[in-house]
């Protein structure tokens, strides 16, 4: 949960004009907005191979040769990947990390605070860096990445045995492992995919392939006792040391916990499983039949299913409700506890619950314009760009962040007045 207690929930509207930005710079890239809604920023071109960031109309103190992947951290710091004289690093509010690298990419951001990690290449060796500090160990390759929820631990799938391309038999012996904070497991695997770090930052789980055919989950280097014909991403229980992952057996998918089948109902597909915040319930996106998609909670699928896809499932903060997005043909639906809203959209973003779970809002797109919908009502703020709505800690107000006619608006609207 984002802690918005210190934010301004009183001022009804704040405006930041952006209309002169285009005239001031070579070009202005797509804007980003801070979670608290107080800042709007974009990468701007300031000359040949010269870039800067414009935040609320002011630029950072200095240019860089190149800037990309501009994003705000939850604490309001503005970060980007930047290069100077052929070297790369991260800049936070305009100040580059002290360490420069051969290249940085795949930024990861902590969920609730101000940590940030990147994948690093230096002299053709690979590792990760967190808040400017690179791992002590480097590897021949790094492929999948993870940052713990608390933002203080990083992990990656790393190549620990050198094998040239073409050395297929050596490769099959296992050349990959997983590293937490740079330190690789002793065990190697043919492949390591989709790592996840436990909430306390102490444990690491990943999908592994032990041969070309045997898939399982490894936790801290130890594999589950059973192998499967395929597995998908593992997830840690929020408080207990359990790991759940979808596993494939006999052509169907089931949910397993610590190597034992947890949901024995077979699905054509099962993925994106998640625990409720208290850890008592599990939801997952499932295909109960071929070409039918829905959400299952504790193994039981919603009655209604959808043709194309279901995505962005999420528990309400109190764990009682589940929202998701569904798509049929070109229409997107917001679905709550199995029931779709009557409104359909050209695109929709993950539903956002109020703290008590009573209200649900979502950013949506229709006919090329954006808006926020609340409880199946389309808001009056139809705009050129919008960001996810955020409820106040008491749940009585909703923060809207949007751009219309080259002006950025931060608007706080009481929930009861939203549709007016």
């Amino acid at each position: 949960m984002i802690d918005g207690k210190a934010w301004d929930w009183e001022t009804g509207q704040k405006k930041i004009p952006m209309s002169d930005w285009r005239g001031r710079f070579g070009w202005v890239e797509e804007p980003y907005v801070s979670l608290d809604g107080e800042k709007v920023a974009a990468i701007v071109n300031t000359g040949e191979e010269a870039f800067n960031v414009c935040v609320n109309g002011d630029t950072w103190e200095r240019d860089f040769d190149k800037i990309w992947h501009l994003r705000f951290l939850p604490d309001g710091c503005l970060t980007a990947l930047v290069s100077d004289l052929g070297e790369w690093t991260v800049a936070v509010d305009g100040s580059p990390w002290q360490n420069m690298f051969g290249y940085v990419w795949n930024p990861l951001y902590s969920r609730n605070n101000g940590h940030m990690a990147v994948a690093v290449q230096q002299d053709m060796r690979y590792c990760m860096a967190l808040d400017g500090k690179a791992w002590n160990e480097t590897y021949a390759n790094i492929t999948y990445f993870a940052l713990s929820g608390c933002g203080t631990k990083t992990a990656g799938a790393v190549q620990v045995v050198d094998a040239d391309s073409g050395e297929i038999h050596k490769f099959k012996q296992g050349t990959f492992s997983a590293a937490l904070q740079g330190k690789a497991w002793d065990t190697t695997f043919v492949n390591v995919w989709n790592l996840t770090i436990s909430p306390d930052g102490e444990h690491l789980a990943a999908e592994v392939r032990q041969s070309l055919y045997d898939y399982t989950i490894a936790v801290d280097g130890q594999t589950w006792d059973r192998v499967y014909t395929c597995v998908w991403e593992p997830v840690f229980h929020p408080t207990k040391h359990h790991v759940v992952a979808p596993v494939r057996k006999g052509g169907y998918w089931m949910l397993a916990q610590d190597g034992e089948i947890l949901w024995d109902r077979p699905f054509v597909q099962l993925w994106h499983q998640m625990f409720s915040p208290d850890g008592d319930r599990i939801a997952a996106v499932v295909a109960p039949g071929y070409g039918r998609w829905t959400v299952a909670i504790d193994g039981l699928p919603w009655k209604q299913s959808f043709k194309d896809m279901v995505t962005d499932a999420v528990f309400s903060p109190n764990g009682k409700r589940v929202g998701a997005l569904a798509k049929e043909d070109r229409s997107w639906y917001v679905v709550l506890d199995g029931v779709p809203w009557s409104n359909t959209f050209d695109m929709a973003w993950q539903p956002v619950f109020s703290p008590d779970g009573e209200h649900v809002a979502a950013k949506i797109e229709k006919n090329g314009k954006f808006a926020v919908a609340l409880d199946d009502h389309l808001g009056p703020h139809i705009c050129d760009a919008a960001w996810d709505p955020i409820f106040s800690p008491e749940g009585d107000k909703i923060l809207l962040r949007f751009i219309e006619d080259n002006t950025y608006y931060r608007r706080v609207v009481p929930v009861g007045e939203f549709a007016r």
Partner: protein
């Protein structure tokens, strides 16, 4: 693959096949064949096998057969006879030598092009049967070395050419910079959430043919498309695992591709000029995952260029003046029905289109597709000699005046390059985007 590893291996000495077969036992072979046939094939294979009357009408469809003086061993049904029928007849009790031969036949003497299915009175899909043979070969660990290496690349990097995580965005940024010399404000927008289109390519583009990314960026920019490319995995739409029979890996690659697009909240995926990748995203990979249709609409480059030209978003300054002939790639034409749109595009950008014969869905395969070219140098001559008929077809188009051969598919492009070179056909090769980029109006 390194140059050292690329040394020509005499046929029959593929280290993927040889080393794999050296550890096979009769028991293992029988068990795997039984397991695949009992658990993975169902009614489809049985129906095909029971329905075939051995009439041989499919033979005339196959370029290998036609190019080998009608040698029945190269006929579609002949390939089934030498592989699947034996496995069925002997109930899986076949030798490692047999398996080695089956690996060579299924992987290098059939392009899974499905031309023969159109000639069989019962519509028997030999390509499907060959895919089942490849699945057995995969499960036995006897897949040819080069394509197995490609599958390993997919497994590690989610792209087919071992392109590392940093190399991909670095290449895009380099191409963006190059293109800015031509169009100063041009961008290749990375990870732009909410763009209309995600553009995806296959890994040979960043590896060897970065100019294709450059051209695509210019086309997108001039057409005013709201587009993006992912900076992380999911950018490669290709899928050699589909051709090695590693269905689990195929599914993983396709999931990555579609979920990347889903995360970027795009409405469509546009893909470059690749045939097999198209088959993997709209037919094979999506279905293995449980998506009956692509969850996010996927548009092949031919279809996209058609849309851009037809809507006037791209205008042609001066048509390409050399007469061209068009090779219809199996996966986008026989499989995807894009032949008339391809002709619309060619006529819009070229002065003259000289048809090769046969054409459209009846066109001969390039003999590179279906993963055959990915089996590498050891089999180069298998596909070149196995497609003499293609050379004859091209010579005939050349005799009618064609100077340039347009091939809107990567595999076809590389395979036909070898054929044009070996048989000294004397045609220049181009992708549609090479010509489109050259002739379109630019600022």
């Amino acid at each position: 693959m390194t140059e050292a590893a690329k040394k020509e291996t005499p046929k029959g000495l593929d280290q993927g096949i040889e080393v794999g077969a050296s550890s096979l036992t009769g028991e293992k072979i029988e068990g795997v064949i039984k397991s695949v046939l009992d658990n993975e094939t169902g009614a489809r294979l049985k129906t095909y096998v029971d329905t075939c009357i051995h009439c041989g009408l499919c033979s005339e469809a196959c370029h290998y057969y036609l190019s080998h003086d009608n040698d029945p061993r190269y006929s579609p049904v002949g390939k089934v006879k030498q592989t699947m029928w034996e496995m069925l007849r002997k109930k899986g009790k076949v030798s490692p030598e047999f398996i080695k031969k089956a690996a060579v036949i299924s992987h290098t003497e059939c392009n899974l092009c499905k031309r023969c299915a159109m000639y069989c009175p019962f519509g028997i899909d030999i390509a499907y049967i060959m895919s089942v043979v490849r699945r057995i070969i995969h499960r036995l660990g006897v897949t040819p070395l080069y394509i197995q290496d490609t599958a390993h690349s997919h497994a590690v990097t989610m792209n087919q050419m071992w392109v590392k995580g940093d190399e991909w965005p670095d290449t895009l940024q380099w191409q963006e910079e190059e293109a800015q010399d031509e169009i100063p404000c041009l961008r290749i927008p990375l990870d732009k959430e909410g763009a209309d289109i995600m553009y995806s390519v296959i890994a040979p583009e960043p590896k060897f043919q970065a100019q294709l990314i450059y051209q695509a960026a210019v086309i997108m920019d001039v057409a005013g498309v709201n587009w993006t490319m992912p900076s992380g995995i999911g950018w490669d739409n290709s899928d050699m695992a589909m051709f090695t029979g590693d269905n689990e890996l195929m599914g993983r690659i396709k999931r990555t591709h579609y979920e990347t697009a889903s995360r970027l909240k795009v409405k469509r995926i546009v893909m470059g000029e690749c045939g097999h990748a198209f088959r993997s995203v709209y037919d094979m990979g999506n279905r293995w995952l449980g998506w009956r249709e692509p969850p996010i609409p996927i548009v092949h480059a031919i279809d996209f260029y058609y849309e851009l030209i037809k809507s006037g978003k791209i205008k042609i300054a001066k048509k390409y003046d050399q007469p061209v002939t068009l090779h219809d790639p199996c996966n986008v034409v026989r499989g995807g029905g894009l032949h008339e749109k391809a002709r619309y595009v060619i006529r819009a950008i070229c002065e003259e289109l000289i048809e090769m014969h046969p054409n459209r869905e009846h066109n001969y395969c390039c003999a590179a597709g279906g993963g055959v070219i990915n089996c590498g140098p050891p089999y180069k001559m298998t596909r070149v000699h196995g497609n003499k008929i293609k050379a004859e077809q091209l010579f005939a188009a050349k005799a009618k005046g064609a100077k340039t051969l347009v091939t809107p598919c990567h595999n076809c492009h590389s395979g036909l390059e070898d054929i044009v070179h070996h048989y000294e056909v004397g045609l220049g090769l181009k992708f549609i985007s090479d010509i489109l980029y050259e002739v379109m109006e630019k600022p």
